[in-house]
């Protein structure tokens, strides 16, 4: 079907393809539903139309939603040559993150991964365990015997300190980065978050939002330049910042590339982790039995790992990705049954609770829920997320 469609003009090909199922109502109605309750709208659509359906939340956009682990895997992991990161993602975060790991593709992406790989090796990450524990203990040391904690800001501040210590590699320098500098990073993360909560306009328009974003970017760029200069002057420096400064000195990478790596790591390693930790603590607070499991956990933190994975399944910090087919003929997915039709955009949206329980969770499940055979992802979709698992973490 895909080959046949490729030989037609785009308009005729679109007409010849099967119409995807999807919610009724014009784009205006759907836009209203999306703005009112995006997750509710998606859940309702997935329950009614299955693994692949089409939504139309704007006059120019038909978005194909893939709501299954198997299809998301096919598009995101198994066919990188057929799908690229979308222009929409670039529009939303490109001016903040540059061409770092999140947005680069192909050979450029592979080269960047090789450059950063040593900083994420087992030894480098193992060395982070003590600073993470120390930063967390420092935070809890300020808590009294019974303290009311506003979890999300607390976890955001903590993850910021941890990622800074990962970047600079020393406790004293991390402490020095707090205050004004820490605020620059927070403003930067807020500016990115704010873009997703509003309807962003092109960068050339002199709106208040665009001016705020430009100021946040300038502030962080100045800070990153200063950090790289300081690192370049201290040869005994540790941390990823030091490796990048040394890469610039050896002319292995440009200042812009180093800057893009740093801001990508800051955002990706701070915002999503903070949300994951907040949701995990929320779920644990609702389930004292699971707290006991975490408290009694052994050195490998197996039960804790399962609890975090389950939290990630129920509340995925990053809800969806929007890959874009490179060519119409390559857009066939789901065993070629459907092509991207009139849309060039595909959304792999992970509806909370959609993904199957990770294998390891069955072990924790055997303690808190009866073990059972996990059905294939597509058949799980027939059930509402609440009914998909008897896991008491919910």
């Amino acid at each position: 079907m895909a080959t046949q469609a490729a030989s037609l003009t785009p308009r005729r090909a679109a007409r010849s393809e099967p119409r995807l199922p999807g919610p009724d109502g014009g784009w205006w109605t759907q836009l209203g539903l999306v703005r009112r309750d995006f997750l509710g709208f998606l859940t309702h659509a997935a329950d009614h139309y299955g693994d692949i359906f089409c939504i139309r939340p704007s006059p120019f956009n038909r978005i194909v939603v893939l709501n299954s682990a198997a299809l998301a895997r096919e598009v995101l992991l198994e066919r990188p040559e057929d799908f690229s990161k979308s222009s929409q993602t670039r529009f939303m975060v490109g001016k903040f993150l540059g061409n770092g790991l999140v947005l680069s593709e192909g050979k450029d992406h592979a080269t960047q991964r090789r450059t950063l790989q040593p900083s994420f090796g087992a030894r480098a990450l193992g060395a982070m365990a003590a600073p993470i524990h120390a930063e967390t203990s420092r935070m809890t040391a300020t808590w009294e015997a019974s303290t009311l904690v506003d979890v999300e800001p607390a976890m955001t501040a903590l993850s910021m300190r941890i990622i800074l210590s990962f970047l600079v590699g020393s406790e004293s320098e991390t402490a020095a980065l707090e205050g004004e500098d820490g605020r620059a990073f927070r403003d930067f993360a807020d500016a990115i978050g704010g873009r997703f909560r509003s309807m962003p306009l092109p960068a050339w328009m002199p709106t208040a939002g665009n001016r705020r974003e430009a100021a946040a970017i300038r502030q962080v760029d100045r800070l990153v330049a200063r950090l790289l200069e300081t690192s370049a002057r201290s040869p005994e420096g540790r941390g990823i910042l030091s490796s990048l400064a040394s890469g610039i000195a050896k002319q292995e990478l440009s200042f812009q590339q180093a800057r893009d790596h740093i801001v990508t790591l800051l955002f990706a390693g701070h915002e999503t982790v903070a949300k994951l930790m907040s949701w995990t603590l929320y779920l644990l607070a609702r389930n004292p039995g699971a707290q006991d499991l975490v408290r009694a956990d052994g050195e490998g933190l197996r039960a804790t790992s399962n609890v975090v994975r389950e939290a990630m399944r129920l509340y995925p910090p990053r809800l969806g990705l929007r890959p874009q087919p490179r060519r119409r003929a390559s857009a066939a997915f789901g065993s070629g049954a459907v092509t991207s039709s009139t849309s060039r955009r595909i959304s792999c949206i992970v509806r909370p609770g959609t993904f199957p329980i990770p294998c390891d969770s069955i072990r924790i499940g055997s303690i808190v829920t009866p073990p059972r055979r996990i059905p294939a992802p597509s058949s799980r979709l027939a059930a509402a997320p609440e009914a998909a698992s008897g896991n008491p973490l919910r």
Binding site: L125, I132, H133, S137, V151, T304, P352
Partner: protein, 46 residues
Amino acid sequence: MMEAKLVVSTIVRGYELRLDVDTEVKPLPGATLAPAAPIRLRAIRR
């Protein structure tokens, strides 16, 4: 993942967590899936 594991483990080993008011907090999609309302937990030292 490692960071979340270590942070959660350190907190739960030192404190018992309870929801201050037992209400469901809904997720709000944006750049990340954020809580729609503040999550306020009572941390009680063990």
